[in-house]
Symmetry: D2
Subunit: 220 residues, 4 copies
């Protein structure tokens, strides 16, 4: 599984976001890999219309329909075609009780929940709240080009160990600095089910080729 | 000027949001009134495609393009067709320095800034940062059906007085509990340029008729 | 174990806070019960000087000594005589990664960590981060006079079950609406090691008598 | 006027905080300068007992006595001997409506309010809410040793101009990087009433001598 977080890069905003999603779809179809795209809210509906691969939101709020302004309603991303959401990304951290509420809300609405952690201990805490996916990303490596799988493999192995002790069927991903196919294969060998990646794809000269190489690496 | 905040009501989500925007467009065109719609982020692009009246975002973040997740990029709402944004709505309050940054960012990007205040003193503070529009809304009346223009007219008159002392050309709106055409006319008589309204329109049985009556009231 | 959170009631501010701590000390000594007092930061040093029972802070921040303003430094509460701290009280909720950092910081500084949860799922998440104490308090019952042990016993039993699955030696407390000795005994029978209490003591006409009755109830 | 923010440096925690406050008192008495000390909450009562110069808190919360945990009650700092408070320091930033509430609360409780701003525009916004003191500090220079009065004098002069247009009697301070007596004199020449300083004093080898030099500089 490869989740591509579009963040708020200009390279993944508006029309360019649709093109990037289409490149991800091409790599997914050619390789039979589960590639998920995570565009900005504003671009979500157009991308869900344009591609057949899964689309996640970058965040949802722990709210019910009603008088909230500037918040993200689960129902709105679902109607737009999203099938899941990131939760607690290190760039959009949440209070513990909010994470718990959003996981429950996602479950209730049939949305896949992918909750991000900054270290093994926090990954274990997240696993105890039973989301669908836990992804560990050391914040200091995010966007660095230095991959977690090479620079801090023990963060991945400790996360796998602690999370599986709590929920042995949890889907575990890792991220931060993933930029080569080798980073992806190491991540899988260390016990994860895939990677959460952003700048490694979005800022690549040829995102399709990099994604294709990542996808191939998940097949070895 | 009438700004219709769609908030996160189901009545103003997805397809129903597009329909509501079209009803607002109809009332705007028939009466020559400036009616602005403020949908959820996810619905913004489709609505901007569907109607010719101005579309605002409910919020933008004080960020530049780059590694932010789950945030609202000015460039993304602009490419989607928004021409302005609410800032600091009482349901999405911001730190003072963030409000200042967002006003500057909106100015730089050519987006209209409408900053919300909860009382006259905060309205004056906002005016000192030179947004395009200041809107005062006592939080306790929001969604109450009890209109600020009848229940707390002194909040409006004090706001007009304090704001104009700082910027005598500021566009001033008021909101909270506005539900009848009379509420709108009183707001104008008290010195505002219009209203910021949400449930009074969104939850109305016939939003078009209510908006039409509001629009007519701004013409008297 | 009985933890008395002084919150910010006038009855537990300044001189009255010292007196309340002394009444708690009397009940603790007479019954041999572990009663911990949790005053406001400003009153912490005087209370730690005045009584021999353990004193906790209401919160600490995940910071090192340095350029932070208006934050609570672990070293400062320790030098003042505190031996532990509440973390993530429902009235002072924190981001997940902050809770994890503060637990680690407390461990490093030799401070007892008591982390609060709003439900069983969140309690389990907290247990996964290995604090010394986990306390579950349904927010809607806090200050209500309706005790969690009578109104929602399943919250306590579910918490005990989920937390012990992760850490079978964890000290578990419960709180919210605890106002009679019977509430305390039920809490213990349901598997907790004691209670976290505030208004039931602080706002009582005779705090000493209530605390004495609570302490006696922990001995049955 | 010289306000010395103790922040959370170890050099200004506990016993060392009391000593630092006594050195400030000595410099104040010898020169007849108004020097205000701003210790951590935990140290506030002991320092107010130990010195006769004014003591401020680093922050207060916009709350009334009651069920708040981990917050700073105006009544508690007042009973401990504080006569004022910093508000919205760049290391403890607040929502706009909270700043407004805290200024009103300080006024009601007879506490001096000193609100911090990061630039001239924010300073003007603050002035519109009528605190007692507005202090401008460009965050990028805080703790840098590069003084605002030399590196960015236009931030000071613009602040003075914008603030006085709104309230011509406002007490205006500046801060960030102030480390020499010359920095203080320039700040005064540019139109301020004094400085808000932290590391320049707290981390000095001989805080008394530096403060004495600062105090002398305010007399020229």
């Amino acid at each position: 599984m490869i989740i591509v977080n579009f963040k708020t890069y200009l390279e993944s905003t508006g029309k360019r976001a649709v093109q990037l999603a289409q490149q991800a779809e091409k790599a997914a179809k050619e390789t039979g890999t589960n590639i998920i795209v995570v565009p900005q809210f504003v671009d979500l509906a157009k991308i869900a219309d344009a591609v057949e691969i899964p689309v996640f939101a970058q965040h949802i709020d722990p709210i019910k329909p009603g008088n909230s302004t500037g918040h993200i309603l689960a129902e709105s991303i679902k109607e737009a075609g999203a099938v899941g959401t990131l939760i607690n990304h290190s760039e959009r951290q949440l209070k513990l009780s909010e994470i718990d509420s959003i996981i429950a809300l996602a479950r209730e609405k049939g949305l896949v929940s992918c909750v991000c952690a900054n270290n093994p201990s926090v990954s274990a805490a997240i696993a105890a709240m039973r989301p669908d996916i836990t992804s560990v990303e050391p914040p200091e490596l995010i966007g660095s080009g230095i991959s977690v799988s090479k620079a801090q493999p023990e963060i991945i192995t400790d996360t796998v160990k602690l999370v599986q002790r709590i929920d042995h069927k949890m889907t575990i991903l890792c991220g931060a600095g993933i930029s080569t196919a080798e980073d992806v294969s190491i991540a899988l060998k260390l016990g994860t089910c895939g990677v959460l990646v952003a700048s490694g794809i979005v800022k690549a000269k040829d995102p399709y080729s990099v994604l294709r190489a990542f996808a191939d690496a998940t097949k070895l």
